[in-house]
Amino acid sequence: MKAMLCAFAVALVIAFAAPSVLNEFGWSAAERGSSATSVRLN
């Protein structure tokens, strides 16, 4: 059961870390507004 709980915890860590990690690479899916090549739907 430890492996299961550990995996669930890691999944949550990944989820909450993803936006800032992606931002570091300029890949933010949460980007607002538009860029030279893209327009956001949200």
Binding site: M1, A11, R40
Partner: protein, 390 residues
């Protein structure tokens, strides 16, 4: 009796998948009295939800070469009337000058948006949701017909290591994120229809925003879990002749026999490849949705299908259409995966005695292992006899 009950349930679920929702074609209309423009019959046909061929409008967008000279009376509007200009905008037959850059900015009106919306809000929810309820109903029925699959003669009391900690971690990373993705995906898809009337728009707005955050970001855990489990288990999931024998015996589910199997039986291999292929596909369409307009893939996919199958799928798609196809495909694949995974969860928990231990603590009862994976047990015991590990 049991067989009849299962057949009846199957037909009930299968009836959900008919195509009666597709619109009936509208009758051919004579538009000579309007000079080719829309008639009352066209309007009535559209109101009757008939499928109207819109080419009489989409192809009627004026001809600039017919423009009157600027010195003429009432000239010139470039050879097109206001109606024709608006039709050109509607059917994306213009090249507007824009301050806003980007592939989607030049599309002022996207005419295919409504059919996508209607498909998403209608058949996608009806048949997707129906299929989920159907599989749950079938499994409940199966449970009462077949009962729990028990260990013949009872457990041995001694255990054997079925999965190492890293394998269980990869499985639960994939499974946990998939369940979160499934629940939040269903909330986003169906919440407007089923939750707003119950909890109100403000509570649903909070729930939907949270669901969107989790769905968008836990997707990375799903993709990591998918890659992990693929590399850990692909060698054990290569189909072989043994799988045919296992399938012909129905896995022993109905005959209460125990066909031979190695580490994974044919049923588990089907689940493995379903998850891998569909997981890869749902990840691709998900990435396309995560980064709007950055990863268009359907026009190229359709071109490839056309070249192989000789079909006539559209190969020129607007940026929005790419997103809409990605959204619909994402939903369809996700529903199929959910159906498979619900069955997988059933057989791995309440459906079979001793099965959950494999992914619970990694240790399964030796008798359970001998009955369901006899050849794998023999391999492990042979290795242990030689001083190796499982």
């Amino acid at each position: 009796m049991n067989f009849k009950a299962v057949t009846a349930a199957f037909l009930l679920v299968a009836s959900l998948f008919n195509t009666s929702w597709a619109n009936e074609a509208a009758p051919v209309v004579d538009r000579s009295s309007t000079g080719g423009a829309q008639t009352l019959q066209d309007i009535m046909a559209r109101q009757a939800q008939l499928d109207v061929d819109e080419r009489f409008r989409s192809e009627n967008i004026g001809d600039p070469s017919r423009a009157k000279a600027i010195t003429d009376q009432l000239g010139t509007n470039g050879g097109t009337s206001d109606s024709e200009v608006y039709r050109a905008i509607r059917y994306n037959e213009i090249e507007p000058t824009l301050q806003q850059r980007g592939p989607a900015a030049a599309v002022l009106i996207q005419d295919a948006g409504m059919p996508w919306y209607k498909l998403r809000e209608g058949p996608m929810i009806t048949y997707g949701g129906g299929a989920l309820l159907g599989i749950i109903g079938l499994l409940i029925l199966f449970y009462f017909v077949r009962g729990r699959i028990m260990i013949d003669g009872g457990p041995a009391g001694t255990t054997i290591e079925r999965f190492k900690a890293i394998e269980r971690f990869g499985h639960w990373l994939l499974a946990g994120s998939f369940i979160a993705l499934g629940v939040t995906g269903l909330l986003v898809l169906m919440g407007r229809k089923f939750l707003i009337p119950v909890i109100g728009p403000e509570a649903f707005a909070t729930l939907a925003a949270g669901s969107k955050f989790i769905h968008n970001n836990i997707a990375w855990a799903f993709m990591i879990g998918l890659v992990m489990t693929f590399f850990m288990w692909v060698a054990h999931n290569i189909p072989n002749k043994l799988d045919i024998k296992w399938l012909l015996a129905g896995g022993g589910i109905f005959t209460k026999s125990h066909p031979s199997a190695k580490k994974f039986n044919a049923g588990q291999k089907i689940i493995f490849w379903t998850v891998m292929i569909m997981g890869f596909s749902v990840s691709l369409s998900g990435l396309s949705l995560l980064f709007p307009f950055e990863l268009p893939m359907f026009a190229k996919t359709f071109a490839l299908i056309n070249s192989v199958a000789g079909t006539d799928l559209p190969t020129v798609l607007l940026p929005h259409e790419e997103m809409q196809y990605a959204n619909i495909w994402h939903s369809i694949v996700a529903f199929v995966m959910m159906l498979a995974i619900i069955a997988h969860i059933y057989i791995g928990s309440v459906g079979m005695e001793g099965a959950f231990d494999a992914m619970g603590n990694g240790q399964v009862d030796l008798e359970w292992a001998r009955q369901h994976h006899d050849l794998w047990v023999a391999e492990v015991e042979a290795k242990q006899g030689k001083g190796g590990s499982s």
